[in-house]
């Protein structure tokens, strides 16, 4: 391979990126060395199996990816601000929109939810960690490897440019001969293994590690959402694994699964991709719904309305999510029977979702609503998500969809549900649980500014897109000549800039609060916490609970406080904790090398990496380290007893 094929050349923006990447790496190394923090990095973060730290790493990665994905989005919006713009050429734009979509869903939304689940779920059920802490760390480092692989593509070899959906025939070797698509396949494959492992991990944790007395129906709603999400993950991700593998074989070994000739069926890719892809969007949104349930209840000072209905509706959504996938390609011409079935199944999924919206409203009814920052994000979710959801019902009508499909109407719809659903939910969760993990709240005033800029910018960006779609603007075009589309496109671009400003304000909010916010270290900083995480100190001690409480009811902390009871009580005993391990981190790096070699077809790199992976797995199976015990003196010291 020539050096100018290996390194992406010819674009000043890419050269600037190359320079900044090198400078950033040098800066990180310099800072770690100057402050003598290498050992700290290794022992505290790279080898941790602590769910709280893993969660924080996931969230940090998600925010970084939101930044990069957001910049991609902004670049796209600049190019589309006016007709016939020459800011980005077709090739570059296509790589950017592909990266934007893939980053946002796979490398921003997924780690964000895994981060939230990791930090909060074990605390909500009174557990000291997840069921498989070592596997949990491995999941993170696999995600990290996949993300690094995908992120490096734009400077080494070239990014994929066939859309985040990577449709064949376009994504096959004939029409995408470079390495870009291989980055897509391996980035998703590696982090997908991590996701599947997490799904299993969380399911077992919830089923087997709840505090005594906490029956399934006494679990908090966020934990329920995690449980149902995990079930969807376990059923859906293997489909993606297979689809990616088959396309990899087509591209690298000349098979004919999705090719036009040789008996292949390009349409099969669409079916397999969306059989995973549709459950995937419910995977990312259900935990957000769980967060909204917690926040609405806390800041209305009322128990969540309709507990049973909220659980049943999520179960219904999960089941239905597997039988709607064809709505992503009604226009493939599968015939009226198929299109009718999937129209109806898609419309039906709106019913349980609506039930949840009404239950949240009923929770706030007769409550005492406090407009904290997490509550603002949650409140904004309701009308905005409903707009996205009802346009989804409009899209579900197949004959109408023949006019909306792949137009900006669709782009408007999915951004309304994904951003108002997932992003608002994750940010709400971030603000809500932040004081639990760091002992101080993020500054409210700054948080509100960030919220308003983002929320208004979001509406300005995506509402005009519904109209642009109806005006006939296709998606994924790098430029347009129709002057009638200018005003709405320019409005959309202005909105995108406002969202960017909102995001920067949130980042500043975090920075400022880390430096200056008063450390109040309250167990219940919102003065209204209802679930178990609010019973323990902030920041949370590494063993979580000094004693595991006995649970009698929903919202145990709220009712115990009302009755003046101590929930965490009883004699102290030594606590069994899992040991740190460097193997997940090392395995993650080896998987990166494995993936990188596969991307370029360098089997001299792939095979040794594969052997190293097997060796690590063998090492792990002979690892008899059973953890260690935290003695009572240390617990007393930490708890201040």
């Amino acid at each position: 391979m020539r050096l100018d094929e290996f390194f992406v050349t010819g674009d000043p923006m890419i050269y600037a990126a190359d320079v900044s990447i090198v400078l950033t790496i040098i800066a990180i190394v310099a800072v770690l060395t100057y402050f003598k923090k290498w050992k700290w990095l290794w022992t505290e973060w790279l080898t941790t199996v602590d769910h709280k730290k893993i969660g924080i790493m996931y969230i940090l990665a998600a925010l970084l990816m939101m930044f990069r994905g957001g910049v991609d989005g902004l670049l796209m919006r600049i190019q589309l601000a006016a007709p016939d713009m020459k800011f980005l050429e077709s090739e570059h734009y296509n790589q950017i929109f592909t990266t934007h979509g893939t980053l946002m869903i796979i490398f921003m939304a997924m780690p964000f939810i895994f981060g939230m689940i990791n930090i909060a779920m074990p605390l909500q059920i009174g557990a000291r960690d997840v069921a498989y802490p070592w596997l949990n760390a491995l999941s993170f480092w696999l995600f990290f490897a996949g993300a690094m692989l995908f992120n490096i593509s734009f400077v080494i070899g070239g990014s994929p440019d066939a859309g985040w959906t990577s449709y064949t025939p376009l994504a096959s070797i004939e029409h995408s001969p470079g390495v870009g698509q291989n980055y897509y396949l391996w980035g998703l494959q590696l982090s997908g293994i991590g996701s599947l492992a997490s799904g299993i991990n969380f399911m077992v944790t919830i089923l087997r590690m709840r505090a005594p007395g906490m029956t399934l129906m006494k679990m908090p709603m966020f934990t329920w959402s995690v449980f149902i999400t995990s079930i969807i993950i376990v059923y859906a991700f293997p489909i993606l694994t297979v689809a990616l593998a088959l396309l990899t074989f087509d591209r690298m070994f000349g098979t004919h699964f999705f090719t036009v000739d040789g008996g292949g069926m390009p349409m099969m890719w669409l079916n397999l991709f969306w059989m995973w892809g549709h459950p995937e969007v419910y995977i990312v949104v259900l935990p957000a719904f769980g967060i909204f349930s917690e926040v609405v209840s806390t800041f209305s000072r009322r128990r969540l309305f309709g507990h049973h209905a909220m659980v049943m509706s999520m179960a219904a959504i999960a089941v239905l999510s597997f039988i709607v996938w064809v709505h992503h390609f009604f226009t493939m011409g599968a015939g009226p029977a198929v299109n009718s079935f999937f129209s109806i199944s898609t419309m039906l999924i709106a019913v349980p979702t609506g039930v949840k919206i009404f239950n949240w409203l009923a929770t706030m009814y007769k409550g005492r609503i406090r407009f904290t920052v997490p509550m603002l994000w949650t409140l904004a979710f309701i009308p905005n998500f409903v707009i996205g959801g009802v346009t989804g019902v409009m899209l579900a009508a197949a004959p109408a969809d023949y006019q909306y499909h792949n137009s900006y109407f669709l782009v408007g719809h999915f951004h309304y549900v994904l951003i108002a659903g997932v992003v608002f939910g994750m940010i709400a969760g971030l603000y809500y649980w932040w004081p639990k993990f760091f002992g101080f709240k993020l500054n409210e005033r700054q948080g509100k500014h960030g919220f308003w800029w983002f929320m208004i910018g979001f509406n300005l960006t995506f509402f005009p897109q519904y109209i642009l779609g109806l005006m006939g603007m296709p998606r994924r075009i790098y430029m347009y000549t129709n002057a009638d589309w200018s005003l709405l496109n320019m409005t959309s671009t202005i909105g995108a800039v406002m969202q960017g400003i909102g995001f920067l304000i949130i980042c500043y909010n975090i920075y400022w609060s880390v430096r200056y916010a008063p450390r109040t270290n309250e167990a219940d900083p919102w003065d209204g916490g209802r679930t178990l995480e609010w019973a323990i100190p902030s920041p949370v001690p590494y063993y979580n609970f000094s004693r595991v409480p006995e649970i009698k009811e929903l919202d145990p902390v709220w009712y115990a406080k009302k009755r003046g009871e101590k929930l965490i009580d009883g004699p102290l005993e030594k606590i069994h904790m899992p040991s740190n391990s460097g193997v997940p981190f090392i395995l993650g790096q080896i998987f990166f090398v494995f993936g990188f070699g596969f991307v370029f077809g360098w089997f001299w790199m792939v095979i040794p990496a594969f052997i190293a992976i097997l060796l690590c797995m063998a090492w792990r199976s002979f690892d008899y380290d059973d953890g260690y015990y935290v003695n009572v003196e240390e617990i007393k010291e930490i708890e201040g007893v």
Binding site: S90, N94, D161, A162, G163, Y167, T168, P169, L170, I173, E174, P177, V179, R251, G254, V260, D261, P266, M267, S300, M332, P336, N339, S343, I344, M347, L348, V351, G354, M364, G367, R368, I369, F371, L376, L379, A380, P383, V390, V393, A397, A398, P399, A400, D401, Y402, Q403, H405, N406, N459, L460, F463, I467, L470, G472, P474, I477, Y478, M479, G601
Partner: protein, 289 residues
Amino acid sequence: MTKKGLVKLGTIFPFLLLLLTGCTEKIEVLDPQGPVARSQYNLILWSFALVAIVLIVVFVAFTIILIRYRERPDNMDYEPPETQENSKLEIIWTVIPFLIVVALAIPTVQITYGLEKKPEQEPIRIQVVAADWKWIFKYPEQGIETVNYVHIPAGQPVEFQLDATENMNSFWVPKLGGQEYTMPGHTGYLVLQADKPGEYDGKSNNFTGEGFAHMKFKVIAQEPEDFDKWARETKATAPKLTDEKFQEIIKKGVLEERLTFSSTHDDSVIQSVHQYRKKSGESNGHQQH
């Protein structure tokens, strides 16, 4: 923060207005110019009316609840009542949306089947080939071929037979009706009809790579007699489409000019395109180093 709900409504309202104010001819999907587009337009309006019920109920309830039950300095000692489960409410707000879904599903299924029915009048057949990156139209009955524009008779159904050389695209003329994918090696069928003569924009609507944004076409509907006259004139005066010329046309690259020919391409050429690539060694399943 009491203004929150109002600010929300306020942000959306201008856009709703935009929808209602004039310029509907520019909003092509809402300006149907043929029966297919019209039945889809009616379904769109009906679905919007139904979901608007939900939108209004949620927005109004949301606004009222936020204003009435917000925390104020003078209600800090108000302790909200304990939440009671209410099965009646759960049933109501499950059944009513379900009925809305039924109200939408019935016409949806009817129109889905209706659009697939054979048109009463015998349609004129035009073959469409989506190549990268130009649109090719073959008129088998008239024996002519055009590139990047297509003439059709107005007031008559036209059955477009959709095909593609290499990549999956989508054939879309919003004013005349919804789109359908053009898939290589698989013939799709899309019936459209223009009520009256006019020019309608045609778009590529499934991403096919670098030249995708430049791949557009025009549909020119004429009175049937004018259409016949045009076809005859074209047959008489336009140059012949040689095999070489056709190969040049379907070669990968953006072609935006309109071309006209008095003969048509051989269908077997399209089928052999992917074989053509394979033979020339460009796709052998291995990475190019």
